[in-house]
């Protein structure tokens, strides 16, 4: 073999020489071979065996096995040994690709023999040194010239940028603009008239700070920012075909409520991450905490476990870490130092988890209500890499343990978590036990009552028959055999209910004894008793079924008419049911097993602890990504633009951001404030950066020339309201918003009639409120950043929706003043500002003309279609004109804009 390869090389080299013996050129001939065939494993990204081939000097330097080449001596060069397979192993390895062809090998050899000459070339930098992979350190606060402008460290960083780029910050926003901005920003609602007045009257230097504090303390804050995080964490109510759940789970709204409550409580972000990923391990018996695991439940997918886990892995990485690890599902990541196996190692953290729905007090039927949550139900399921991402090709030779990409972690310890009994055996939870026993009692009581009633009816009938002097010779004194049948049935039902109650009581005793729940008796005794009583109950049930079937058959036979196929069919069916019931009865009679049935599902007593370990690692002080990613999300939602443009990708494609120092400072600040978000909000909102105007008027030509896109934040960014804020604000300015919090999701089709906040409506695949969708509501599947389009359909939604008409009419009727005062008040309430003189003039003219127009309705043409609004227009033309004016203001560009 070796000989043959050698000959081949000689031949190829000879043939090349024959063509003109041109020297081999590294850039033209060699680098392309290395790049296409070797870089995948031997370059900056993945330095297998410590070897890099992405620069000629690195070949000489070599890796763990020594230099890859010895210039001038191809025969002694490891590279040639490797590609020819001369020593029994070959590069690229068989499973990674075809061998190099003879000409390529010959070129490599010739190049080495000619001295391995190469021009100077830069050595590509090591991806491990990527800025986002280094733990954030608090950078020094820069000294700036414009000290007067600096209110807090954020401003110092921003001002340093201004000075570096010769930008001049614009002035503070006017008071009314700032107030509206901070209200919409923090609570998603514009200020009321009273709130505006209070701010106006508060002349103290602390007025703005007090507003910020009040808003941060408002429960509306959790609703507003809850929706932001619901975007990032992919909140979705259940969806599917009719009643069949295909995505997510029923009652997932409990997770939504947890999000809102946690934000209002200013729970640390670190704790929130732990509770969402591993609340079942962190607080196994606390239903409030268990709600948080809705984060994982949400990815449940009926038809494919791999799709479910793929979604889980992809989005946990994007949401918390800004890692596009999903790119490594089928192959090593193209840009980032993430191997394909890393994708599956991350999956391994989630491999054991499953979804279950726990009972909530007062409702035994978990379809009607319940607590969806996760549990490590399959601790022993191995994780395999899928070759080329194909789930049909698991690499079973190499099961993978939970782990993280090398670049991010040196490995982490996973401690299994022992579960309390109630957590892994939920039927033994006291309230569940109580409710189960109460239900058994209630069943007996009900059966007793039914029997009494049946007996009374029979007695009554017998008395009637006796009174009318029936023929005593008849065997049955009753005139109605159905009444006797009813008594028989009720007796059997009572027997069955009592047997079940007795069986339950014994099974509970047996289980108490088994788990040593004081006070408990002898397990063997109770197990035997429970087994016997359960057999008895089964027997009673079977007898009841037989009786029911017999009675049904008798009824069917009585109703049977010759020639009627339908009644025949009923008889046949009843006969079959009876046969089945008799068979079950025989089974019950012959059953000898002494085992009793458990009280409900029993899950593993130990949880793997994998998800806890992952969450703890994510929220360690040194994690380079988590705090930065969170800070970036928060910053973007206050300022309008993120610090790192790709909010879900902090990988190598994310260049070091312009405001990297600020990002790091804020990340450390978040961590050192106990990961609480409210201090961070406060810091941003109190900065001068936040308080600037968003428009530059005709001035600042220089700023605009240097930085037209405002990357340096020389002004605030203007924003369009998010979908939910548009809808909620419309109802709120009219004073009609229903501020009830929490609870089951509201039908999305009620969005035009229910006045609850938008966050509480159903949000699921194909089940979204149309109005919100038109204003770029979050895509259910993923939405790390909203878009803000301007399209005519939005104009139609705002101008033609029943909701906008109704709210306009209701608000107009609340403002009783004279014309000019009405106009001013309408502007104040809807747009949070006074009208200009020109605006007042326009509106005054409009009111006059509209009133005149409406006064003679015979000249007017109605739109086609039915009357769609619950609040019809006012009858008086002058009031109806005012309603029109308010409706116009709800459609004003300034209404949907934060300046």
């Amino acid at each position: 073999m070796l000989v043959r390869v050698g000959l081949l090389i000689c031949w190829v080299v000879a043939s090349r020489s024959a063509r003109g013996a041109e020297p081999v050129d590294y850039v033209r001939d060699i680098k392309p071979i290395l790049s296409s065939r070797c870089f995948a494993c031997h370059s900056a990204l993945r330095q297998r065996s410590g070897l890099r081939l992405d620069a000629a000097s690195l070949l000489t330097q070599g890796g763990k096995r020594g230099p890859a080449i010895v210039p001038g001596k191809s025969g002694e060069s490891l590279l040639i040994t490797a590609v020819t397979g001369a020593e029994g192993w070959r590069m690229p390895p068989e499973e990674e690709g075809d061998p190099l062809d003879a000409e390529q090998i010959a070129l490599l050899a010739a190049w080495i023999d000619q001295g391995a000459k190469a021009p100077d070339e830069p050595i590509p930098s090591d991806p491990r040194s990527h800025w986002a992979y280094q733990s954030p350190e608090r950078p020094p606060i820069p000294n700036v010239n414009n000290r007067a402008w600096v209110r807090n460290p954020i401003d110092a960083f921003i001002a340093a940028g201004h000075e570096k780029h010769a930008l001049a910050p614009v002035a503070d926003a006017p008071k009314h603009v700032l107030l509206r901005r901070v209200y919409l920003d923090l609570i998603g609602l514009p200020p009321t008239r009273a709130e505006r007045d209070a701010f106006w009257q508060d002349k103290s230097p602390d007025a703005y700070r007090r507003v910020v504090e009040r808003l941060l303390a408002s429960p509306r804050y959790g609703e507003r920012w809850g929706r932001h995080w619901m975007d990032v964490w992919r909140y979705s109510d259940w969806s599917g075909y009719r009643d069949e759940v295909r995505y997510s789970q029923r009652h997932i709204w409990r997770w939504r409520d947890w999000i809102i409550e946690s934000l209002n409580d200013d729970k640390g972000y670190d704790r929130m991450v732990v509770e969402m990923l591993a609340g079942d391990e962190a607080a196994p018996t606390d239903p409030d905490t268990l709600r948080a695991t809705g984060y994982l439940v949400r990815s449940w997918y009926k038809f494919n476990r791999d799709v479910w886990l793929d979604q889980t892995v992809e989005h946990a990485a994007k949401a918390f870490l800004g890692l596009t690890i999903n790119c490594a599902r089928c192959h090593d990541h193209k840009y980032d130092p993430i191997a394909q196996a890393d994708y599956y190692r991350l999956r391994a953290f989630f491999e054991p988890h499953e979804v279950r729905t726990d009972r909530v007090p007062g409702q035994a039927d978990v379809i009607k209500d319940g607590l969806p949550r996760v549990v490590d139900a399959k601790p022993d399921t191995p994780t395999y890499l899928f070759i080329r991402g194909n789930e049909k090709m698991p690499d079973k030779e190499h099961p993978l343990a939970p782990g993280l990409p090398d670049v991010l972690s040196d490995g982490l310890e996973i401690e299994p978590v022992a579960m309390p009994l109630e957590a892994y055996y939920p039927a033994l939870t006291p309230f569940v036990l109580d409710e189960t026993r109460n239900q058994a009692d209630a069943d007996v009581t009900q059966a007793v009552a039914a029997l009494t009633k049946a007996n009374e009816a029979l007695e009554k009938d017998r008395s009637r028959v006796a009174a009318t002097g029936a023929d005593a010779a008849k065997p049955d004194p009753s005139s109605d055999p159905a009444l006797t049948a009813r008594v028989h049935l009720a007796e059997k039902q009572l027997a069955y209910a009592e047997a079940k109650r007795a069986s339950l009581a014994a099974r509970v005793e047996a289980e108490r004894a088994k788990y040593k729940l004081r006070p408990y008796g002898d397990h063997a005794h109770w197990a035997k008793t429970a087994g016997g009583l359960e057999r008895h109950a089964t027997l009673c049930g079977a007898e009841l079924s037989v009786l029911q079937a017999e009675q049904a058959l008798a009824k069917a036979e009585a109703a049977d008419k010759p020639e009627d196929a339908k009644t025949k069919k009923a008889v046949t069916a009843a006969t079959k049911t009876l046969e089945d019931a008799r068979k079950k009865l025989t089974d019950a009679l012959t059953k000898t097993s002494s085992e009793y049935t458990r009280l409900g599902p029993v899950y593993p007593a130990t949880s793997t602890g994998r998800r806890t370990a992952l969450a703890r690692w994510m929220t360690e002080r040194d994690n380079p990504l988590t705090a930065r990613v969170a800070v970036n999300h928060i910053w973007m939602r206050h300022i309008g633009e993120p610090l790192v443009a790709g909010v879900d990708d902090f990988g190598l494609r994310a260049q070091r951001p312009r405001h990297a120092a600020l990002l790091d400072w804020l990340a450390v600040e978040l961590i050192e404030s106990g990961w609480r978000m409210k201090p961070l909000h406060r810091l941003i909102l109190m900065s001068n950066t936040y308080r600037m105007r968003s428009d530059a008027g005709d001035n600042h030509a220089s700023n605009r020339r240097i930085d037209p896109d405002n990357h340096g934040l020389w002004r605030m960014n203007r924003r369009r309201l998010e979908a939910e804020v548009v809808r909620d604000s419309m109802v709120h300015v009219a004073g009609n918003l229903d501020l009830a919090m929490g609870g089951p999701e509201i039908d999305q089709n009620l969005g035009q009639s229910s006045l609850r906040r938008s966050v509480y409506f159903r949000h699921a695949y194909e089940k979204q409120m149309k109005f919100l969708e038109l204003f770029d509501a979050a895509s259910v599947n993923e939405c790390y950043r909203r878009s803000a389009s301007v399209v005519p359909q939005q104009a139609l939604a705002l101008s033609n929706s029943a909701l906008s008409f109704e709210q306009a009419r209701l608000l107009a009727r609340r403002i009783p003043q004279s014309t000019d005062a009405f106009i001013a008040e309408a502007f104040e309430r809807v747009l949070s500002r006074s009208p200009s003189a020109a605006e007042t003039a326009e509106c005054r003219r409009f009111l006059t003309e509209q009133e005149a127009r409406l006064t003679d309705a015979t000249q007017l043409t109605s739109f086609d279609g039915e009357k769609s609004s619950r609040v019809q227009p006012a009858v008086t033309p002058s009031l109806r004109a005012r309603e029109s004016l308010v409706h116009v203001l709800l459609n004003h560009n300034d209404f949907v804009t934060v300046r």
Binding site: C330, H331, R388, G389, G646, D695, A696, D698, R704, P708, D709, N710, R718, K770, L774, S779, N781, Y784, R785, S787, A788, S789, V790, V791, P792, Q793, Q794, A795, L796, A797, S799, N800, S801, F805, S836, A838, E842, C843, F846, R853, L854, L860, T861, S862, F863, D864, G865, E866, K867, S868, S869, P873, S884, L885, V888, L889, N891, H892, N893, T897
Partner: protein, 497 residues
Amino acid sequence: MNTKSNVRGCTGLNRRTFLADVGMGFTGLALGSLLSGDGVARGASSAAWTPPDGNPHFAPKAKSVVWLFMIGGASHMESFDPKPELNKYAGKSIGDTPHKNVLDAPFIKDNLRIVVPDDANGHIRMELYPLQVGYRKHGQSGIEVSDWWPHLCRRIDDLAVVRSMWTTDNNHGAQLQFHTGRHSLDGFFPTIGSWVHYGLGSLNDNLPQFVVLGQPIADCCGGMEGHRANYLGPEHDGIPLAVDPKNPLPFATPGGEVYREEQQAEFELLDRLNRLSAVEYPDDAEMRARIKSYELAFRMQMAVPEVVRLQSESAETQQLYGLDEDVTKPFGRHCLAARRLVESGVRFVQVFHGSNGGAGSWDAHSSLKNNHAKLCAQVDKPIAGLLTDLKQRGMLDETLVVWATEFGRTPGTQNANGRDHHPFGFSVWMAGGGIKGGVAHGSTDEIGFHAVEQRHYVTDIHATVLHQMGLDGRRLEVPGRKRLDIEFGEPIREIIA
């Protein structure tokens, strides 16, 4: 995906040019014309860049475009580029046939830009798969068309078939690519419809100028970005309409309790107030877009239900589009609506066929015969009907019809009875709007593998469309947006009449 709309601040646009720019309002409240009274008109500041004025750059041949897009990748060999060699060498590996040189062609390495390297799909398939349908010559031109197009083949002398298309994505991101001209890895860019919308003035102030019919591309493959305008601004986005007069789009009517005159007065006041505000905020590009969006919305709610009211068409016309048959009705309705839209002056109608929420119905990795027979039957008659109808009404001369798909399918077989994605060679055709009829332009090699003669990347189609509309893509540049050469493409002169 981040789908942030990318509305650029109007750098260098001063207050007056801004106001001159915003449409004419509801009642001719022409602030623009008022301003021209004080000597300010656009173009006076000659150095500053201005957006297109709506006039074509040169005399246009076509007024409107109907863009028919088959989602998933229709087979070129079983439609407009039949290859008898496939039957001859059926079952043979390409390497064992005289056509083995296709495997060494530089296009494979040079053109292909793989997104998902080890995907189960998107590979070269070696075992040649025979044609799954017969074919024959049609019309005076004698162009060969497969038997799955029994109606369309009769219009072949109106068509210019381009048989030498290529693209660079071997996966369904090619759908996005076909509309933006850029590979999906490069991100999102304005689509061809939005360029037409951006470059040309309106023919009808009551309708959106760029309309989307049919379920658009799914999220996997570009989603809404397949008909968006990206950095040209959302006012140039395509607007999806339903062919349903009662509900052509959400919130289409304010309800019977509102008077038309009452609402018009509201919109007029709104326009005045927004313009007053616009004076305060000259940099606010979204404001400008919103003012325009209200103007359009107001008129749309009147005009749109009417234009999609297909009942007003004669029974004969409805039959022409196959509205009387279940198989052809859905796409027939879209084609007929497209004609009505074009007739009313809509510039660009983008009609999608074959959305299935994923890669698209035409994606016949297996059972190609059943799949394509079924899908061709859905679109053949409606498309032929559209061409016939346009011609009868004398509209075909100024209506450019484009039939396209994101890529072709492999000459080799996949999954025993299917074909894989094939970006190296495929077919597109155009008709009307100053395009030569009865032309087969360019070619693939004998097994339909590579486009070999007169090769065209997807933007050559864009350039041809723009050219027929009187536009030069290179003169539609936007400051600060550097475009690549490949984005412009070149008009296909050989098929232009």
